[in-house]
């Protein structure tokens, strides 16, 4: 391999791409980006093994700012796209990063199915309880009665509780962080990445431009770490914690070990001896034709 390639390889721990974040000054997402890059460094994931997949939203711009084999797809479809990346190349470290609208509104139908399949990937939801990119409409996590551009007379629906949903879906690692607590967040990302299975972190990441209710102050006043006595293997207890409304618990609600989807798929393939070259492929095809003769 040439020298130049060697150099590129050595530079692989420099994660920042040459696209500069275009977020508003003060946006919570900066804290998440910082924590994420720190976690990558700690995990020593090389950029050529990294794949960040996103949908559309302010938060979904994330993959442009980090070097990797990334996809910036369409609104709401990051999870199934990432699933494809993972099953086609289980070697890659796959991250899905996106917003509350991207995840729980238009993309809400995909989470249950990815969660129960348990592919080994990390999903980080940057929850600002608003639609940032489209300039301030109500989101599935906006508070009841919140006024936004599309709810001038107040939102009529109680917000969804992402942690409860993920527990109900069977996600095998469920945590919550806060964009301003980068130390804790970095550790949560590290743990989520080390977890073998579908790990989700809901990050409260305020939007100072459009959300005047869930502000940094609002969150800071309510945020509390999950008590260390909590047993994260007890799902019912995790539900109980998630149902608490006056506090915002951060930390790991739940974790469980079970087979990964790509592992299960590989088991099927290996029933048939996975070592296939062009020759054996042709032989097997001929054999299959026999069945239809």
């Amino acid at each position: 391999m040439s020298e130049a390639i060697e150099k590129i390889k050595q530079a692989k721990l420099e994660y920042k791409s040459d696209v500069k974040p275009t977020w508003c000054p003060g946006c919570g997402d900066y804290g998440v980006l910082a924590s994420f890059i720190k976690a990558l460094g700690e995990l020593k994931i090389p950029t050529h093994k990294l794949s960040i997949v996103s949908g559309i939203g302010c938060s979904s711009r994330f993959p442009h700012f980090v070097k990797g084999y990334n996809l910036h797809t369409v609104h709401g479809r990051a999870l199934p796209v990432a699933l494809g990346v993972k099953i086609a190349n289980p070697e890659l470290e796959v991250f899905v990063i996106g917003g509350d609208g991207d995840g729980f509104a238009i993309g809400g139908g995909h989470i249950p199915h990815v969660a129960r399949r348990n592919p080994d990937m990390v999903y980080i939801i940057l929850d600002n309880a608003i639609y940032g990119l489209t300039k301030g409409q109500v989101s599935p996590t906006s508070t009841l009665t919140m006024t936004t551009t599309t709810t001038p007379y107040g939102a009529l629906e109680p917000p969804l509780n992402p942690i409860m949903l993920l527990l109900a879906y069977g996600a095998s690692f469920v945590a919550r962080g806060f964009s301003s607590n980068t130390k804790q967040l970095t550790q949560l990302i590290v743990e989520a990445t080390r977890h073998r299975g579908f790990a989700v972190i809901q990050v409260i990441s305020p939007c100072p431009t459009f959300n005047m209710e869930i502000t940094f102050d609002f969150v800071r006043e309510r945020v509390v770490e999950i008590p260390p006595k909590h047993d994260p293997t007890n799902k019912l207890k995790a539900f109980e914690l998630a149902m608490v409304q006056d506090k915002i618990y951060t930390g790991i609600f739940y974790r469980e070990e079970r087979p990964t989807f790509e592992g299960n798929l590989d088991k099927i393939v290996s029933k048939f001896d996975g070592n296939i070259d062009e020759l054996s492929k042709k032989e097997r095809l001929e054999k299959l034709f026999e069945q239809f003769a």
Binding site: H48, P80, G84, A88, F272, E286, F292, A293
Partner: protein, 578 residues
């Protein structure tokens, strides 16, 4: 008719209530014939409901080469009154009706020959009224002269798992059908088939299966789908067989996610396929434009059914052409491939994968409900003759900074496969510069639109010089242009016309987008009359020709949900020739 007065080929339709075993009767007869080297061609419809409603299985069998499912029926086997009421008018002048007197009473004004076959009675005598269809199978085997042993072997295969008792009952029913036929055999001599021509190795495949085989041969590694009639059998075929070739198959939660997962897998380096039909295709629209924008190879099979909306899921139509060519907001290039018959399903699928890899965009295979379920005994595909194309990757040793979306003369630039250091890039849905970073300047958007569409120009230019889809008849003044599953009916209509002294050429393009415009203008320019045959209301391909080659052809359309007969096409030829 052949010299000895026997028919050259026989068209048989079995009709009955869904759930009465019409399909399995037809299948046994088909396989038995094909295994004995007969040419067979089948066509079926069933009600969209699971049980109940009228179901039919039609097959045409011949010792000689045939192209379609045939027109008028020589034989109708009616399990019940509804089958008689709906199908008896499809009988040829000299066709005959077989019917179960317990369930069906031919009307007084029915003029064809009719024969009672007490299906129910004989089935009951064999131990179960459920074996009506086996009585019919035996009876028809005897009448057609299809080897009995082949059918018995199949019945044994089919019922062994279900217990000895059921097997015996069904075998008995089959035999009683054979026996019952003896008394008519003399009278029905002309239906007995001659010995088949040639002995080339044949496989019996439906169009759906042939597409599955094509995908495997082309190197498909990930298939993701969501069940939908009439495309599910492709997913089911691959779910069973693709893992044998190291491939992974999953059923996703909907069609949007099915294409999404394919897109991700394609980015990661795999060849991918998703099968669907109209409603699912509609849902994929947004992601088709994304794959086109991010220049990712994906193969989508659209097995058309009769629409609009849920429409008639178990009926056929060629009505999605507009959508696959023009559908999708913005302007997103894609390639459209339409196989013409079962063996073509195999080869065109291989081609579709190759085109996707080469031109880095979505390729849509347009099949339809007839082709999907039509079973044909085709010569076994020759794997040696197949060329498999893989995506062009960058020189990973190169020191130049990698530009995934480099603006080139052909519009094409190498695709890096994840895992290679130094070649990280982002696949964007936003307009972007050569590196993939967002860029909205007029210059970049203009150049990128040109670049993406230039890839289609390159392909179109290649097609200008390929002529294997043009069946020229010297001296013909009439040209038929058709696409997809109408192929067989068109060919037979042309044969019939030829026998009646009218020469007709046939152009049957397999790639419907992009089109080789000069070539088409040249072809069309040679004829006095051009007829475009297609199964839709609007004349979609005819209209596309009007747009792209400024030619307004004669249209022959049919949109009732059942395929063209060669007679309909023949009649149009006669009309136009006048």
């Amino acid at each position: 008719m052949s010299e000895n007065g026997n028919l050259k080929d026989v068209v048989v339709r079995i009709g009955g209530e869904g759930g009465e075993g019409v399909m399995s009767a037809g299948e046994i007869l088909t396989y038995s014939a094909a295994r004995s080297s007969y040419r067979v061609f089948t066509f079926r419809t069933f009600p969209a409901e699971i049980k109940g409603g009228l179901a039919m299985y039609q097959f045409r069998v011949s010792p000689y080469d045939i192209f379609s499912m045939g027109d008028k029926l020589h034989i109708l086997m009616a399990f019940n009154q509804e089958a008689f009421d709906n199908y008896s008018s499809a009988l040829a002048e000299d066709g005959v009706l077989f019917y179960d007197p317990a369930e069906c009473k031919p009307l007084d004004n029915f003029t064809r020959k009719k024969y009672e076959v007490p299906l129910k009675e004989l089935a009951m005598a064999s131990g179960t009224h459920l074996a009506k269809n086996m009585v019919a199978t035996g009876f028809l085997s005897a009448v057609l002269g299809i080897p009995i042993e082949e059918s018995e072997k199949q019945i044994a295969d089919k019922f062994r798992r279900k217990g000895e008792k059921l097997l015996q009952q069904n075998l008995n029913a089959f035999r009683s059908g054979v026996e019952y036929a003896q008394k008519y055999l003399d009278e029905l001599k002309r239906f007995r088939l001659g010995k088949p021509e040639g002995k080339d190795k044949r496989v019996i495949l439906s169009g759906n299966q042939a597409i599955g085989f094509g995908a495997i041969a082309a190197g498909c590694k990930v298939a993701v789908g969501y069940p939908i009639t009439p495309a599910s059998p492709i997913l089911e075929f691959l779910a069973r067989h693709l893992p044998k070739f190291g491939g992974k198959v999953i059923q996703n939660e909907d069609e949007i996610s099915a294409l999404a997962t394919c897109v991700g897998a394609s980015y990661a380096g795999a060849k991918v396929l998703t099968p669907t039909s109209g409603p699912g295709l509609a849902l994929m629209t947004e992601l088709i434009t994304y794959a086109s924008m991010a220049e990712l190879p994906v193969v989508i099979v659209d097995v058309q059914r009769a629409g609009p909306s849920t429409g008639m899921p178990s009926k056929t139509e060629q009505t999605d052409l507009y959508h696959v060519v023009f559908g999708g907001p913005g302007e997103a290039p894609r390639i459209v491939v339409a196989p013409a018959h079962v063996s073509d399903c195999f080869y065109q699928t291989v081609k579709a994968f190759n085109l996707a890899e080469e031109y880095q965009m979505p390729v849509i295979i347009l099949s339809d409900q007839v082709l999907a379920y039509q079973t044909e005994a085709i010569p076994k595909p020759n794997l040696e003759s197949i060329e498999v194309v893989n995506r062009l990757e960058p020189d990973y040793e190169s020191q130049n900074s990698y530009l995934r979306y480099k603006i080139t003369e052909t519009g094409l630039a190498p695709i890096a496969v994840p895992g290679h250091p130094g070649f990280e890039y982002i696949a964007p849905g936003l307009e972007h510069n050569e590196r993939g970073a967002p860029n909205y300047t007029p210059k970049v958007h203009t150049e990128m639109q040109k670049k993406r569409f230039r890839k289609l120009d390159v392909l179109a230019e290649k097609l200008e010089n390929e002529n294997d889809d043009y069946y020229e008849v010297k001296g013909a003044k009439i040209l038929i242009v058709a696409w997809g599953s109408t192929y067989g009916a068109v060919r037979e209509a042309i044969e019939k016309a030829e026998m009646n002294g009218i020469k007709v050429s046939h152009y049957h393009p397999r790639i419907l987008n992009p089109l080789p415009k000069r070539k088409i203008r040249n072809i069309i320019g040679n004829y006095e009359k051009v007829i475009v045959v297609e199964q839709n209301y609007n004349g979609q391909f005819a209209n596309i020709l009007r747009t792209f080659v400024d030619y307004n052809p004669i249209k022959l359309n049919n949109y009732g949900g059942i395929p063209f007969t060669s007679e309909e096409i023949y009649n149009k030829i006669i009309e136009v020739a006048k």
